[in-house]
Symmetry: D2
Subunit: 339 residues, 4 copies
């Protein structure tokens, strides 16, 4: 940690800071500049003391020189993490592109089974579907609950596709675990630390979505919660951030893909459906995500988008999804990736 | 709801939309303009059908003409809600300014009792303190849990100040309710709908903080969750939103005060400590919040900010808080409000 | 235009509004709903009257049903505009990908000529370079002025590459026009309406960059300024918007590419150098931009990025640029586009 | 400047950086930590070399320890700048509150003279009015030009109120200077560096508005442009920043007032009209701005807001403005300030 003193800090104040640091077990390097004195604190207790040192008289600001996350960082683990979803399906660098598809909400047995068959035929590798839905209005459809999970299980039995589904409530986790292959933590729960700790205690993969108002560093801190509890099977997901732009529901931050590959060893998938909010932009942004190096895609597909109980406007029909898969394979091939 | 058709929508498409609306029980008004046809749908089932209508061929966009919240709206209830916190303490329009003060985290019995005595002496009306802390790092201090609540109870016994404290986990709610007079829902949990439903089922007042990336409408929708479960004792709290500005931790949106007074009957308090993140700006912004018409303030006060386990940099000393109370009274008087 | 009345608007207020609209020459349709009355105003004088109607007693809000731009809209001109840069070089839908490359600032004759030769050899189609630089600090390098333009002219003579360069000041425009093939309007000047009008009066193509805090609609309104003065040769440029994310200099909004193709007939190019601010993310985001359907790229290349007087950190070396061109061709081919 | 090396930087890389720094005339302090090596560079040439050092092998990031602005900083000039507008009118710390009022646009002689008389009677100290208007649409009213300035001059003759008016184009500056007492640089031109340099060469006060997408630091850098050319008479203006919130036109950042007072010696005024965009919130936010310590206010007043050619919805009537002045005086008195 670097402590930058104010330009008019007195020698006494500088000494007070260095004494405090030494008493806390830090090595100290002093650097007197023309405008300011700068103190380097060597050691690793920054989390305990950062705030207090910041309050000492004469201190202008503190500059951390280590990142606040550890287990998720490339510096802690240089080789890429490959997350295994089922016997034959893994996601991460060097693996074939993971394509998760399916409706926003499970609405009926017929709906989810027909969707599963269609996306399987088109080449998808896993099935998404929400049984517990976080809706901004208390009056909107909230999901079928365990019944929805049972319908997904039947769809899995018929197609062999692993299940990706969201858990909202720590009290529902045992139920969700009976059916899900991957537990999704939604964007609105990215900083629900209670829930993060719970999914940190399980072994199944967790798909952690970036919050719409969150930075990449905060996403990584939330992943750190999960890893720090023991679950290393975390798949990150970029699904758009909130900006001033209104023509799209969110602004899909595709730069996050190479940045995340730089900062962490965890896989990163992209959700162009929430990222744009409009089905007509989903194919283009799916291709862009593949070209940007994403390890996978999660795409909303509904047999009848105009009758969907949620997110119809951003859902592809099975036919559009099948066409898209053809294009995805071409772009993946162009950058040397399998699908 | 207004349905705006595309400029090249065919008569057949217009008819298809009006037929669908009529079959759903809506009254329909058609308005053919020079550039576009516009359809007015009269009725109140918009939440069920909005998405599907949006998908019909020829539809350009839907414009809701009712607000998505009901119970919290001024239109539903025109007179101001006064939330009663204890026998002698209420918050809302026309009531004296509510001043909640105390440390970010409860750290020890001594700390919370001495703070409570100091803020009581200075004129505060309630005591804040966190026993369960939502921290962005899993390695940061997470709060004392029930022990912290017990310390707060002792502080209450000594001073008579009601307790405002946060609940993070629906499973902790029964414990928190044993001690708290007001349950705080933190900014990061503003859209934790599971938690909102739980505090909707209780009777005690809920202090609902606006999320840093959330709009006023979303705050009101979250309050709607609580009211829709039966708890009408909701106090809203503006605590700053995230912007590009970095000299302050957040950007305190004081315009939210008059806007919220316009849109809802619920009381609104302001948190200048999180709003600015720096104690030296807290007094000024407290006065500005009072002048803006806030029904109360929630201010971080710590006996030794430079030794605080969390949020030291934004905490006032008891001395500074006492000076501030003097100024607050003057500004409150200038706008005709008691403290 | 739709006028939504307040839920408690009186009949008198409604009549007052309809009378005013009729007196202004509008056709009027009235729609009385359960909660509110809605008035449709048919005609095309919305720009003149919108504000005043909004102020009438009983009016809640106005909803425009036409877009505020005309000449740039797809509705005005459905076929794609192809902008001709030189005898052999055009940009737009169906044209080969336009690749503009070169340094942020022209620094010397040697620098710009060696860069021009290197990018030409790698397959670039035009040369960028700044002679007048808008810098946030008055103490930073402000460009070589006309001398820089002369160096660019020599580079053009040696390579045949057309010149893309920025104009900051309407008084410099005649000078810049002597040398430039495309006049760039920088992000900070996107709403410098004085400058927009001036470049609207010329015939040469204008590359209009989206401001970092601007929406797509505002970009289109700024383009409308240029077209409304008579110059239809406008090339739009997405170069990143400002968000909370700090790992990248800006957030490159690639969704803007398909959205802009939807809303306007004008070509759109992408600047991944300013979009990310870090050279190591430029290749990946260039490929993503091509996959997203961009009509071109504008990429910073400098022979010695570590000695650049501006934007070194986001500049590619000629070698990296050459490698990137190989990858760009593969991705372009995958989506059926030539380079 | 602090140079933080990568955690795996080699000794050779560290030596290369220190050699480079020494060759550039910097003093160097080396601090080897457990995780990283940190280099302190002592000297003041950071603007020339920062980018190049950032590119050296092994360098992770650079941390500036000086602010990028000088002449505007408190460190350069500790005592508050008082800007003199006319013989009897000055603005700054300790001075009476400056209240500038008037219409968005000058529309006619009658309009501006009647407004000037009304605001003068209510206690305003200066008259605002736009003759050259920066409008986002080329089809919107663009102002009366010099004719508008002449009308303002007549209003000044009748009331004695000094004139505050915007200049958009460096070519118009001589004309504007013939009439104006304070030259306004609008939010959209905050980074029009050409215009900033021009108003830096004059002696009259400049009212510099913060751009809606700009940080406080960027505002200060723009002020630095003006001071660096020789004009020290700069008045800063907070007028709201763009956020996700839509109930207000902008989000008025009142925390900017105490922050700016901390960082610079220049006066700061607040524009609650653009800050909120709705006249009904203007009085409350005016009082809040005074309580926050603003040195002045700039408020839109129009004799007939519902007939205004621009910004009607955010304009007060003369009657509302007069009532507001009464309240302003009370709040100002409460914090010890004259009006």
């Amino acid at each position: 940690m670097i402590i930058i003193m104010k330009h008019d800090a007195t020698d006494e104040q500088v000494n007070h800071v260095t004494d405090k640091l030494k008493s806390l077990g830090f090595g100290v390097h002093l650097s007197k500049g023309i405008e300011r004195t700068v103190i380097g604190a060597i050691g690793d207790k920054r989390l305990l003391i950062s705030q207090n040192v910041q309050m000492l008289p004469g201190v202008s600001e503190l500059v951390p020189i280590s990142k606040p996350y550890k287990l998720v960082s490339r510096e802690f683990k240089t080789d890429d993490t490959i997350v295994r979803i089922s016997e034959n399906l893994s996601v991460g660098a060097g693996m074939p592109l993971l394509v998760i598809a399916g409706p926003c909400s499970v609405e009926s047995k017929e709906q989810i089974i027909s969707t599963a068959k269609a996306i399987k035929a088109a080449g998808a590798s896993a099935l998404r579907g929400g049984a517990y839905k976080p809706r901004s209005s208390p009056y909107a459809f909230q999901g079928l609950g365990e019944e929805g999970l049972k319908f997904m299980a039947e769809a899995k039995k018929e197609t062999g596709l692993p299940i990706v589904t969201e858990c909202l409530d720590p009290r529902d986790l045992p139920t969700v675990l009976k059916y899900a292959d991957v537990i999704q933590i939604g964007a609105r729960n990215m900083q629900n630390f209670v829930l993060l700790r719970e999914v940190g205690k399980i072994k199944k993969p967790v798909l952690l979505k970036r919050g719409g108002g969150s930075t990449i560093e905060e996403l990584l801190m939330s992943a750190e919660y999960i890893l720090s509890e023991g679950n290393r099977n975390v798949i990150l997901c970029e699904r758009g951030i909130r900006t001033l732009e209104t023509y799209t529901r969110n602004t899909l931050d595709l730069s996050a893909v190479p940045v995340i590959k730089d900062l962490t060893h965890l896989p990163i998938v992209v959700d162009p459906s929430h990222g744009t909010g409009k089905w007509k932009y989903v194919p283009t942004m799916s291709l862009a995500a593949v070209a940007a190096g994403a390890d996978g895609l999660i795409i909303e597909v509904h047999p009848h988008p105009d009758a969907a109980l949620s997110d119809g406007p951003q859902s592809l029909t099975p036919e559009n999804f099948a066409s898209l898969m053809v294009q995805i394979k071409k772009v993946a091939q162009a950058i040397g990736r399998k699908v």
